[in-house]
């Protein structure tokens, strides 16, 4: 009766796998392009100066004994004018005036203490030993770094690190 005849039973057709490499390549390229190793993208422009024989900060990072702060020119040029000498600090995703500015003098101090308080008790090292690493732009005036240094001295966070770009191994 029916016009459609059922054919004989066939085995499952083989899946064409020739496009599998394309998929893998696509994944490869995606990761190659999308991988960045920065934990935060600072809103200030920082070109680090080069130096040799600097200490590797990775072990301190793994033990979370280090806080990073950035010092550079804000990417937003209009904002740059409102900061001391045109340079701003970048603390945990927020651009802040540097300590020499007339207002908001205690930004570094507060940031450091907040970070210290926020750490769970078992991971806490005495604040004296928590390193503060300044990643400053090569043109940044050193005076600002000394202002930061003074703030840290006041709260007895007595370890400061000056970041550089170092391609050598040590």
């Amino acid at each position: 009766m029916s016009k459609f005849k059922k054919g004989e039973k066939k085995g499952a057709p083989g899946v064409n796998t020739s496009s599998l490499p394309d998929i893998v390549f696509m994944l490869l390229f995606f990761f190659m392009v999308a991988t960045t190793t920065k934990d935060a993208d600072p809103t200030v422009e920082v070109t680090q100066p080069t130096g040799v024989l600097a200490e590797d900060m990775t072990p301190f990072k793994q033990r979370s004994e280090i806080d990073f702060l950035y010092l550079g020119v804000p990417r937003n040029k209009a904002r740059a004018e409102s900061f001391n000498m045109g340079y701003a600090l970048f603390l945990d995703n927020v651009a802040q005036p540097s300590p020499g500015d007339l207002y908001n003098v205690n930004a570094v101090r507060r940031w450091k203490l907040d970070k210290f308080e926020a750490k769970p008790e078992r991971m806490k090292k005495p604040i004296k030993e928590v390193i503060t690493c300044v990643k400053a732009d090569e043109t940044a005036p050193t005076g600002i770094i000394f202002d930061i240094r003074k703030e840290l001295q006041d709260i007895e966070a007595l370890k400061l690190a000056y970041a550089v770009k170092d391609n050598g191994n040590y």
Binding site: A136, F146, R149, Q153, L160, A163
Partner: protein
């Protein structure tokens, strides 16, 4: 022409090639490591102390002004790469002088080492005597009623300093331990507008000089690179790795000696507003 079937290419291994590439990139990718110079900040002192009189020969001052011009020990220099040579000279000039030569040099303005820091030399007998003496002093302070804890601690720190010298001399395996004058230091003076680039460069140069001094000493003494000592000290073993802990301690002692021989005393002067 007869129609022919195009033979199919087996693409099954393409995936393997792609994976191989993926793994290659995963392995060879190096991340930008964070590198920095760690410098301690001196503790804030509330009590005004009279400035200590430091002899000019004990200061290696590196000055950078707001026009990014450099001066080391009173000499203007053009190439910032030369700073490390000045620092090396500062450490090395009087290194091999014996005690009697040193006394002669300190009185003679024309001596080439007159304007460079001197080394104190301690023999084992002297160090042992000092340990005894300082221990007695510390114990006496401890017994004094009403002595402040910080005061007592200060006296004990003197004892531990001499004990450190004793350990260092044992490891040094020579009759005398040369120790740079305790006041000798490298001083960095910048102005508010000095570029960070120059400030970092000065630190870089100082590190370079101290690295070279210590590297030479560690090669002389034990035939190993200073860099190796540093990397060994980078991974501290856990409590239960006893053999590793022993090796780690050896490297710690070596580092201690190198630090006695070539201390990295750096003073950063806060620029005036």
């Amino acid at each position: 022409m007869a129609k022919r079937d195009i033979p199919e290419i087996n693409a099954g291994s393409m995936a393997d090639i792609a994976f191989l590439l993926l793994i290659f990139f995963l392995v060879t990718t190096t991340m930008d490591r964070d590198k920095a110079y760690i410098r301690p900040i001196p503790k804030k002192v509330d009590v005004e102390t009279p400035p200590v009189d430091i002899q000019e020969r004990d200061i290696c001052d590196i000055v950078a002004n707001s026009q990014n011009q450099l001066m080391v020990r009173g000499e203007i220099i053009k190439n910032p790469d030369d700073i490390s040579d000045y620092v090396l000279e500062f450490f090395r000039t009087n290194e091999d002088l014996s005690t009697s030569e040193m006394i002669a040099a300190s009185g003679n303005r024309n001596h080439p080492g007159f304007n460079f820091p001197f080394y104190n030399r301690f023999g084992m007998a002297e160090i042992n005597g000092k340990i005894e003496q300082t221990t007695l002093e510390a114990e006496e302070v401890e017994r004094t009623p009403g002595a402040e804890a910080a005061y007592i601690e200060y006296f004990w720190s003197k004892v531990s300093e001499w004990e450190k010298r004793k350990r260092a001399l044992k490891l040094y395996k020579k009759a005398e331990l040369p120790e740079l004058s305790s006041q000798a230091h490298v001083r960095i003076e910048v102005q508010i507008n000095t570029g960070y680039e120059y400030f970092a460069k000065i630190h870089s140069e100082i590190n370079e000089a101290i690295f070279e001094l210590r590297d030479e000493a560690s090669k002389d003494l034990w035939g190993i690179d200073y860099a190796r000592i540093v990397t060994q000290l980078g991974n501290e073993p856990t409590e239960d790795e006893i053999t590793k802990k022993k090796i780690f301690q050896e490297y710690l002692d070596k580092m201690e000696l190198l630090k006695v021989l070539y201390p990295d005393r750096i003073i950063e002067v806060t620029p005036k507003k």
